[in-house]
C-alpha cells in the first residue's frame, strides 16, 4: 500500500507539529532497545535529523522510499546503518530504531485514520528494510576488506640467506592467493637479486591438482626469471597423495623440510662458486 499525496501531506504536517514530543518518545524507545550503548544526547540528535528527513520526504509527497523527495532520507538511513554496522550493533537493533518511529507516531497523535496510518506504516517499513539492506552491504564490505587484509598477511616472502628467499605457504592455496604469492615472489626475486627461491608447503593441508598446478606455474615463472626454485615441506602423506594423483614435478627439486632445502641450496651455491673460481684459475 503506497502513501497517497494527501496522506503524505497530512503526516508531514503532524510530524512537523509534534516534533519535540515525537523525537523524545522515539529516542526513549530506541534507547531501551540499545540498552545504553549510545548516549541519549547522541540518539536525540540522530532521531531529530531522521525526523526532519521523514518530514521532508512526506512534505515532498514521496509515495515510496525510491521517490525523489526521499533522497535525503535515504542518505541519512544509509549513513545511520553504516555507523551502526561499524559500531557493532546487530541488524535487528539497527532496523528496530526505525520501526520505533511508528510507535512514537501512533502514541503522539490521537485519532489518526487507520487507513492513513497503515499507508504511513508501510512507508516506515520500507525505510527500515532499506537500513537493513545498507547494514548488510556495509558488513559485506567489512568482510571483503578483512579477506583482502588476510590475503596480504598470509603470504610473506622472507629472505632466508644471502641470495635465498623463501615463501612459507600456510592454509588453502586458491587462485587468488596463488596469484598474490607468484607476484610477491617474482617481485622479491627482482628486488633482492636472489638466484634461489624455496616454496615451503608444510602449512598446506592438502595438495590437490589445482594447488599443484599453481605451484608449478609459480616455479616456471621464477625459472623464466633465472631463479632456481625448490619445493620443501612435503610430508609423507602429501607425497603419497601426489603419487596417487599422478602429479609429476619433473626436474623440480623437492625436499621434505625447509632445513634440507636450505642445505641443498647452500651446497649448490658453494659448488657454483668453486667452479667459477676453478674456471678462473684454469686458463
Amino acid at each position: 500500500m503506497t502513501l497517497s499525496a494527501d496522506e503524505a501531506a497530512r503526516f508531514a504536517a503532524l510530524v512537523d507539529e509534534h516534533q519535540e514530543a515525537l523525537v523524545t518518545a522515539w529516542t526513549e524507545r530506541v534507547a531501551s532497545t540499545l540498552r545504553g550503548r549510545l548516549s541519549h544526547a547522541e540518539l536525540q540528535r540522530q532521531n531529530g535529523e531522521l525526523r526532519r528527513g521523514f518530514q521532508q520526504a512526506l512534505a515532498g509527497s514521496a509515495q515510496d522510499l525510491a521517490a525523489e523527495p526521499a533522497a535525503e532520507l535515504r542518505a541519512q538511513l544509509a549513513e545511520l546503518s553504516s555507523t551502526r554496522a561499524r559500531q557493532g550493533f546487530s541488524a535487528t537493533e539497527t532496523a528496530v530504531s526505525i520501526f520505533a518511529f511508528k510507535d512514537a507516531v501512533l502514541n503522539a497523535f490521537d485519532g489518526v485514520n487507520v487507513r492513513d496510518y497503515v499507508a504511513f506504516s508501510s512507508f516506515v517499513d520500507e525505510a527500515a528494510l532499506f537500513t537493513f539492506d545498507s547494514y548488510v552491504r556495509v558488513r559485506e564490505e567489512l568482510i571483503a576488506d578483512q579477506a583482502e587484509q588476510l590475503l596480504e598477511l598470509s603470504t610473506p616472502v622472507v629472505k632466508l640467506w644471502e641470495g635465498v628467499v623463501a615463501v612459507p605457504l600456510v592454509g588453502t592455496l586458491d587462485s587468488a592467493r596463488a596469484q598474490v604469492v607468484m607476484e610477491r615472489l617474482l617481485q622479491t626475486l627482482v628486488d633482492t637479486g636472489s638466484p634461489y627461491a624455496i616454496i615451503d608447503i608444510t602449512g598446506v593441508p592438502a595438495v590437490d591438482t589445482q594447488v599443484a598446478q599453481h605451484i608449478l606455474k609459480t616455479v616456471v615463472a621464477a625459472r623464466l626469471m633465472g631463479a632456481d626454485c625448490i619445493i620443501s615441506g612435503i610430508r609423507p602423506q602429501i607425497a603419497q597423495t601426489i603419487v596417487a594423483l599422478g602429479i609429476e614435478f619433473g626436474d623440480i627439486a623437492t625436499k621434505s623440510s625447509l632445513a634440507d632445502a636450505l642445505r641443498y641450496v647452500l651446497a649448490k651455491a658453494g659448488q657454483n662458486k668453486q667452479s667459477k673460481q676453478s674456471k678462473r684459475r684454469e686458463p
Binding site: 593441508p205 595438495v207 589445482q210 602423506q237 597423495t241 594423483l245
Partner: protein, 134 residues
C-alpha cells in the same frame, strides 16, 4: 548401516573449502590413518571442484559408513550439469577441457577404495566414492 549424512551445496570456491573441512572432520572421526585422511580429503577436493567447475554447481553429501567389519566414509557428489560424453577419455591422465592438469578425475579414482560414476549427457553427473579404514 550408515548414519545421516551431511550435505553441502557447492556453489562457490568457498564451498569446496567447506567440503574439505567436513570430509576431514569425518575422516578423523572414523579414525582413518593420516595418509588415508589426506587421500580422501584430496579426492573430495578434486571432485567437489569438478562439481563446481564442470557441473556448474551441485551438492556434496558425506556420511560415515560401517559394513560390520570396517568403518569408512562415503561421499556423493552430484550436479545437474552437461554430463560426461566420453568416460574413457575423461579418465585418461592428462586430458582436460578446462585448462587444469587433467588428473583430477582419474587421480581421485586412484585415491579412494570404491568409485562409482553415473552420468548421461545433459542429465548431470553423480559420483559416489568410499574409503575404508585399513
Amino acid at each position: 548401516m550408515s548414519e545421516q549424512g551431511q550435505r553441502i551445496e557447492v556453489v562457490t570456491d568457498q564451498d569446496v573449502v567447506r567440503v574439505r573441512q567436513l570430509v576431514r572432520t569425518l575422516a578423523v572421526a572414523v579414525k582413518l590413518s593420516l595418509v588415508d585422511q589426506t587421500k580422501i580429503v584430496t579426492a573430495a577436493s578434486e571432485l567437489a571442484r569438478n562439481t563446481l567447475v564442470y557441473g556448474g554447481g551441485g551438492w556434496v553429501e558425506a556420511t560415515s559408513v560401517d559394513n560390520g567389519r570396517r568403518k569408512g566414509i562415503r561421499i556423493v557428489f552430484a550436479d545437474q550439469g552437461p554430463g560426461i560424453a566420453d568416460l574413457d577419455l575423461a579418465f585418461t591422465d592428462g586430458y582436460t577441457t578446462g585448462g587444469g592438469l587433467g588428473l583430477g578425475l582419474s587421480g581421485a579414482r586412484r585415491l579412494v577404495d570404491e568409485f562409482d560414476i553415473v552420468t548421461a549427457v545433459g542429465e548431470g553427473t553423480t559420483i559416489t566414492v568410499t574409503k575404508w579404514c585399513r
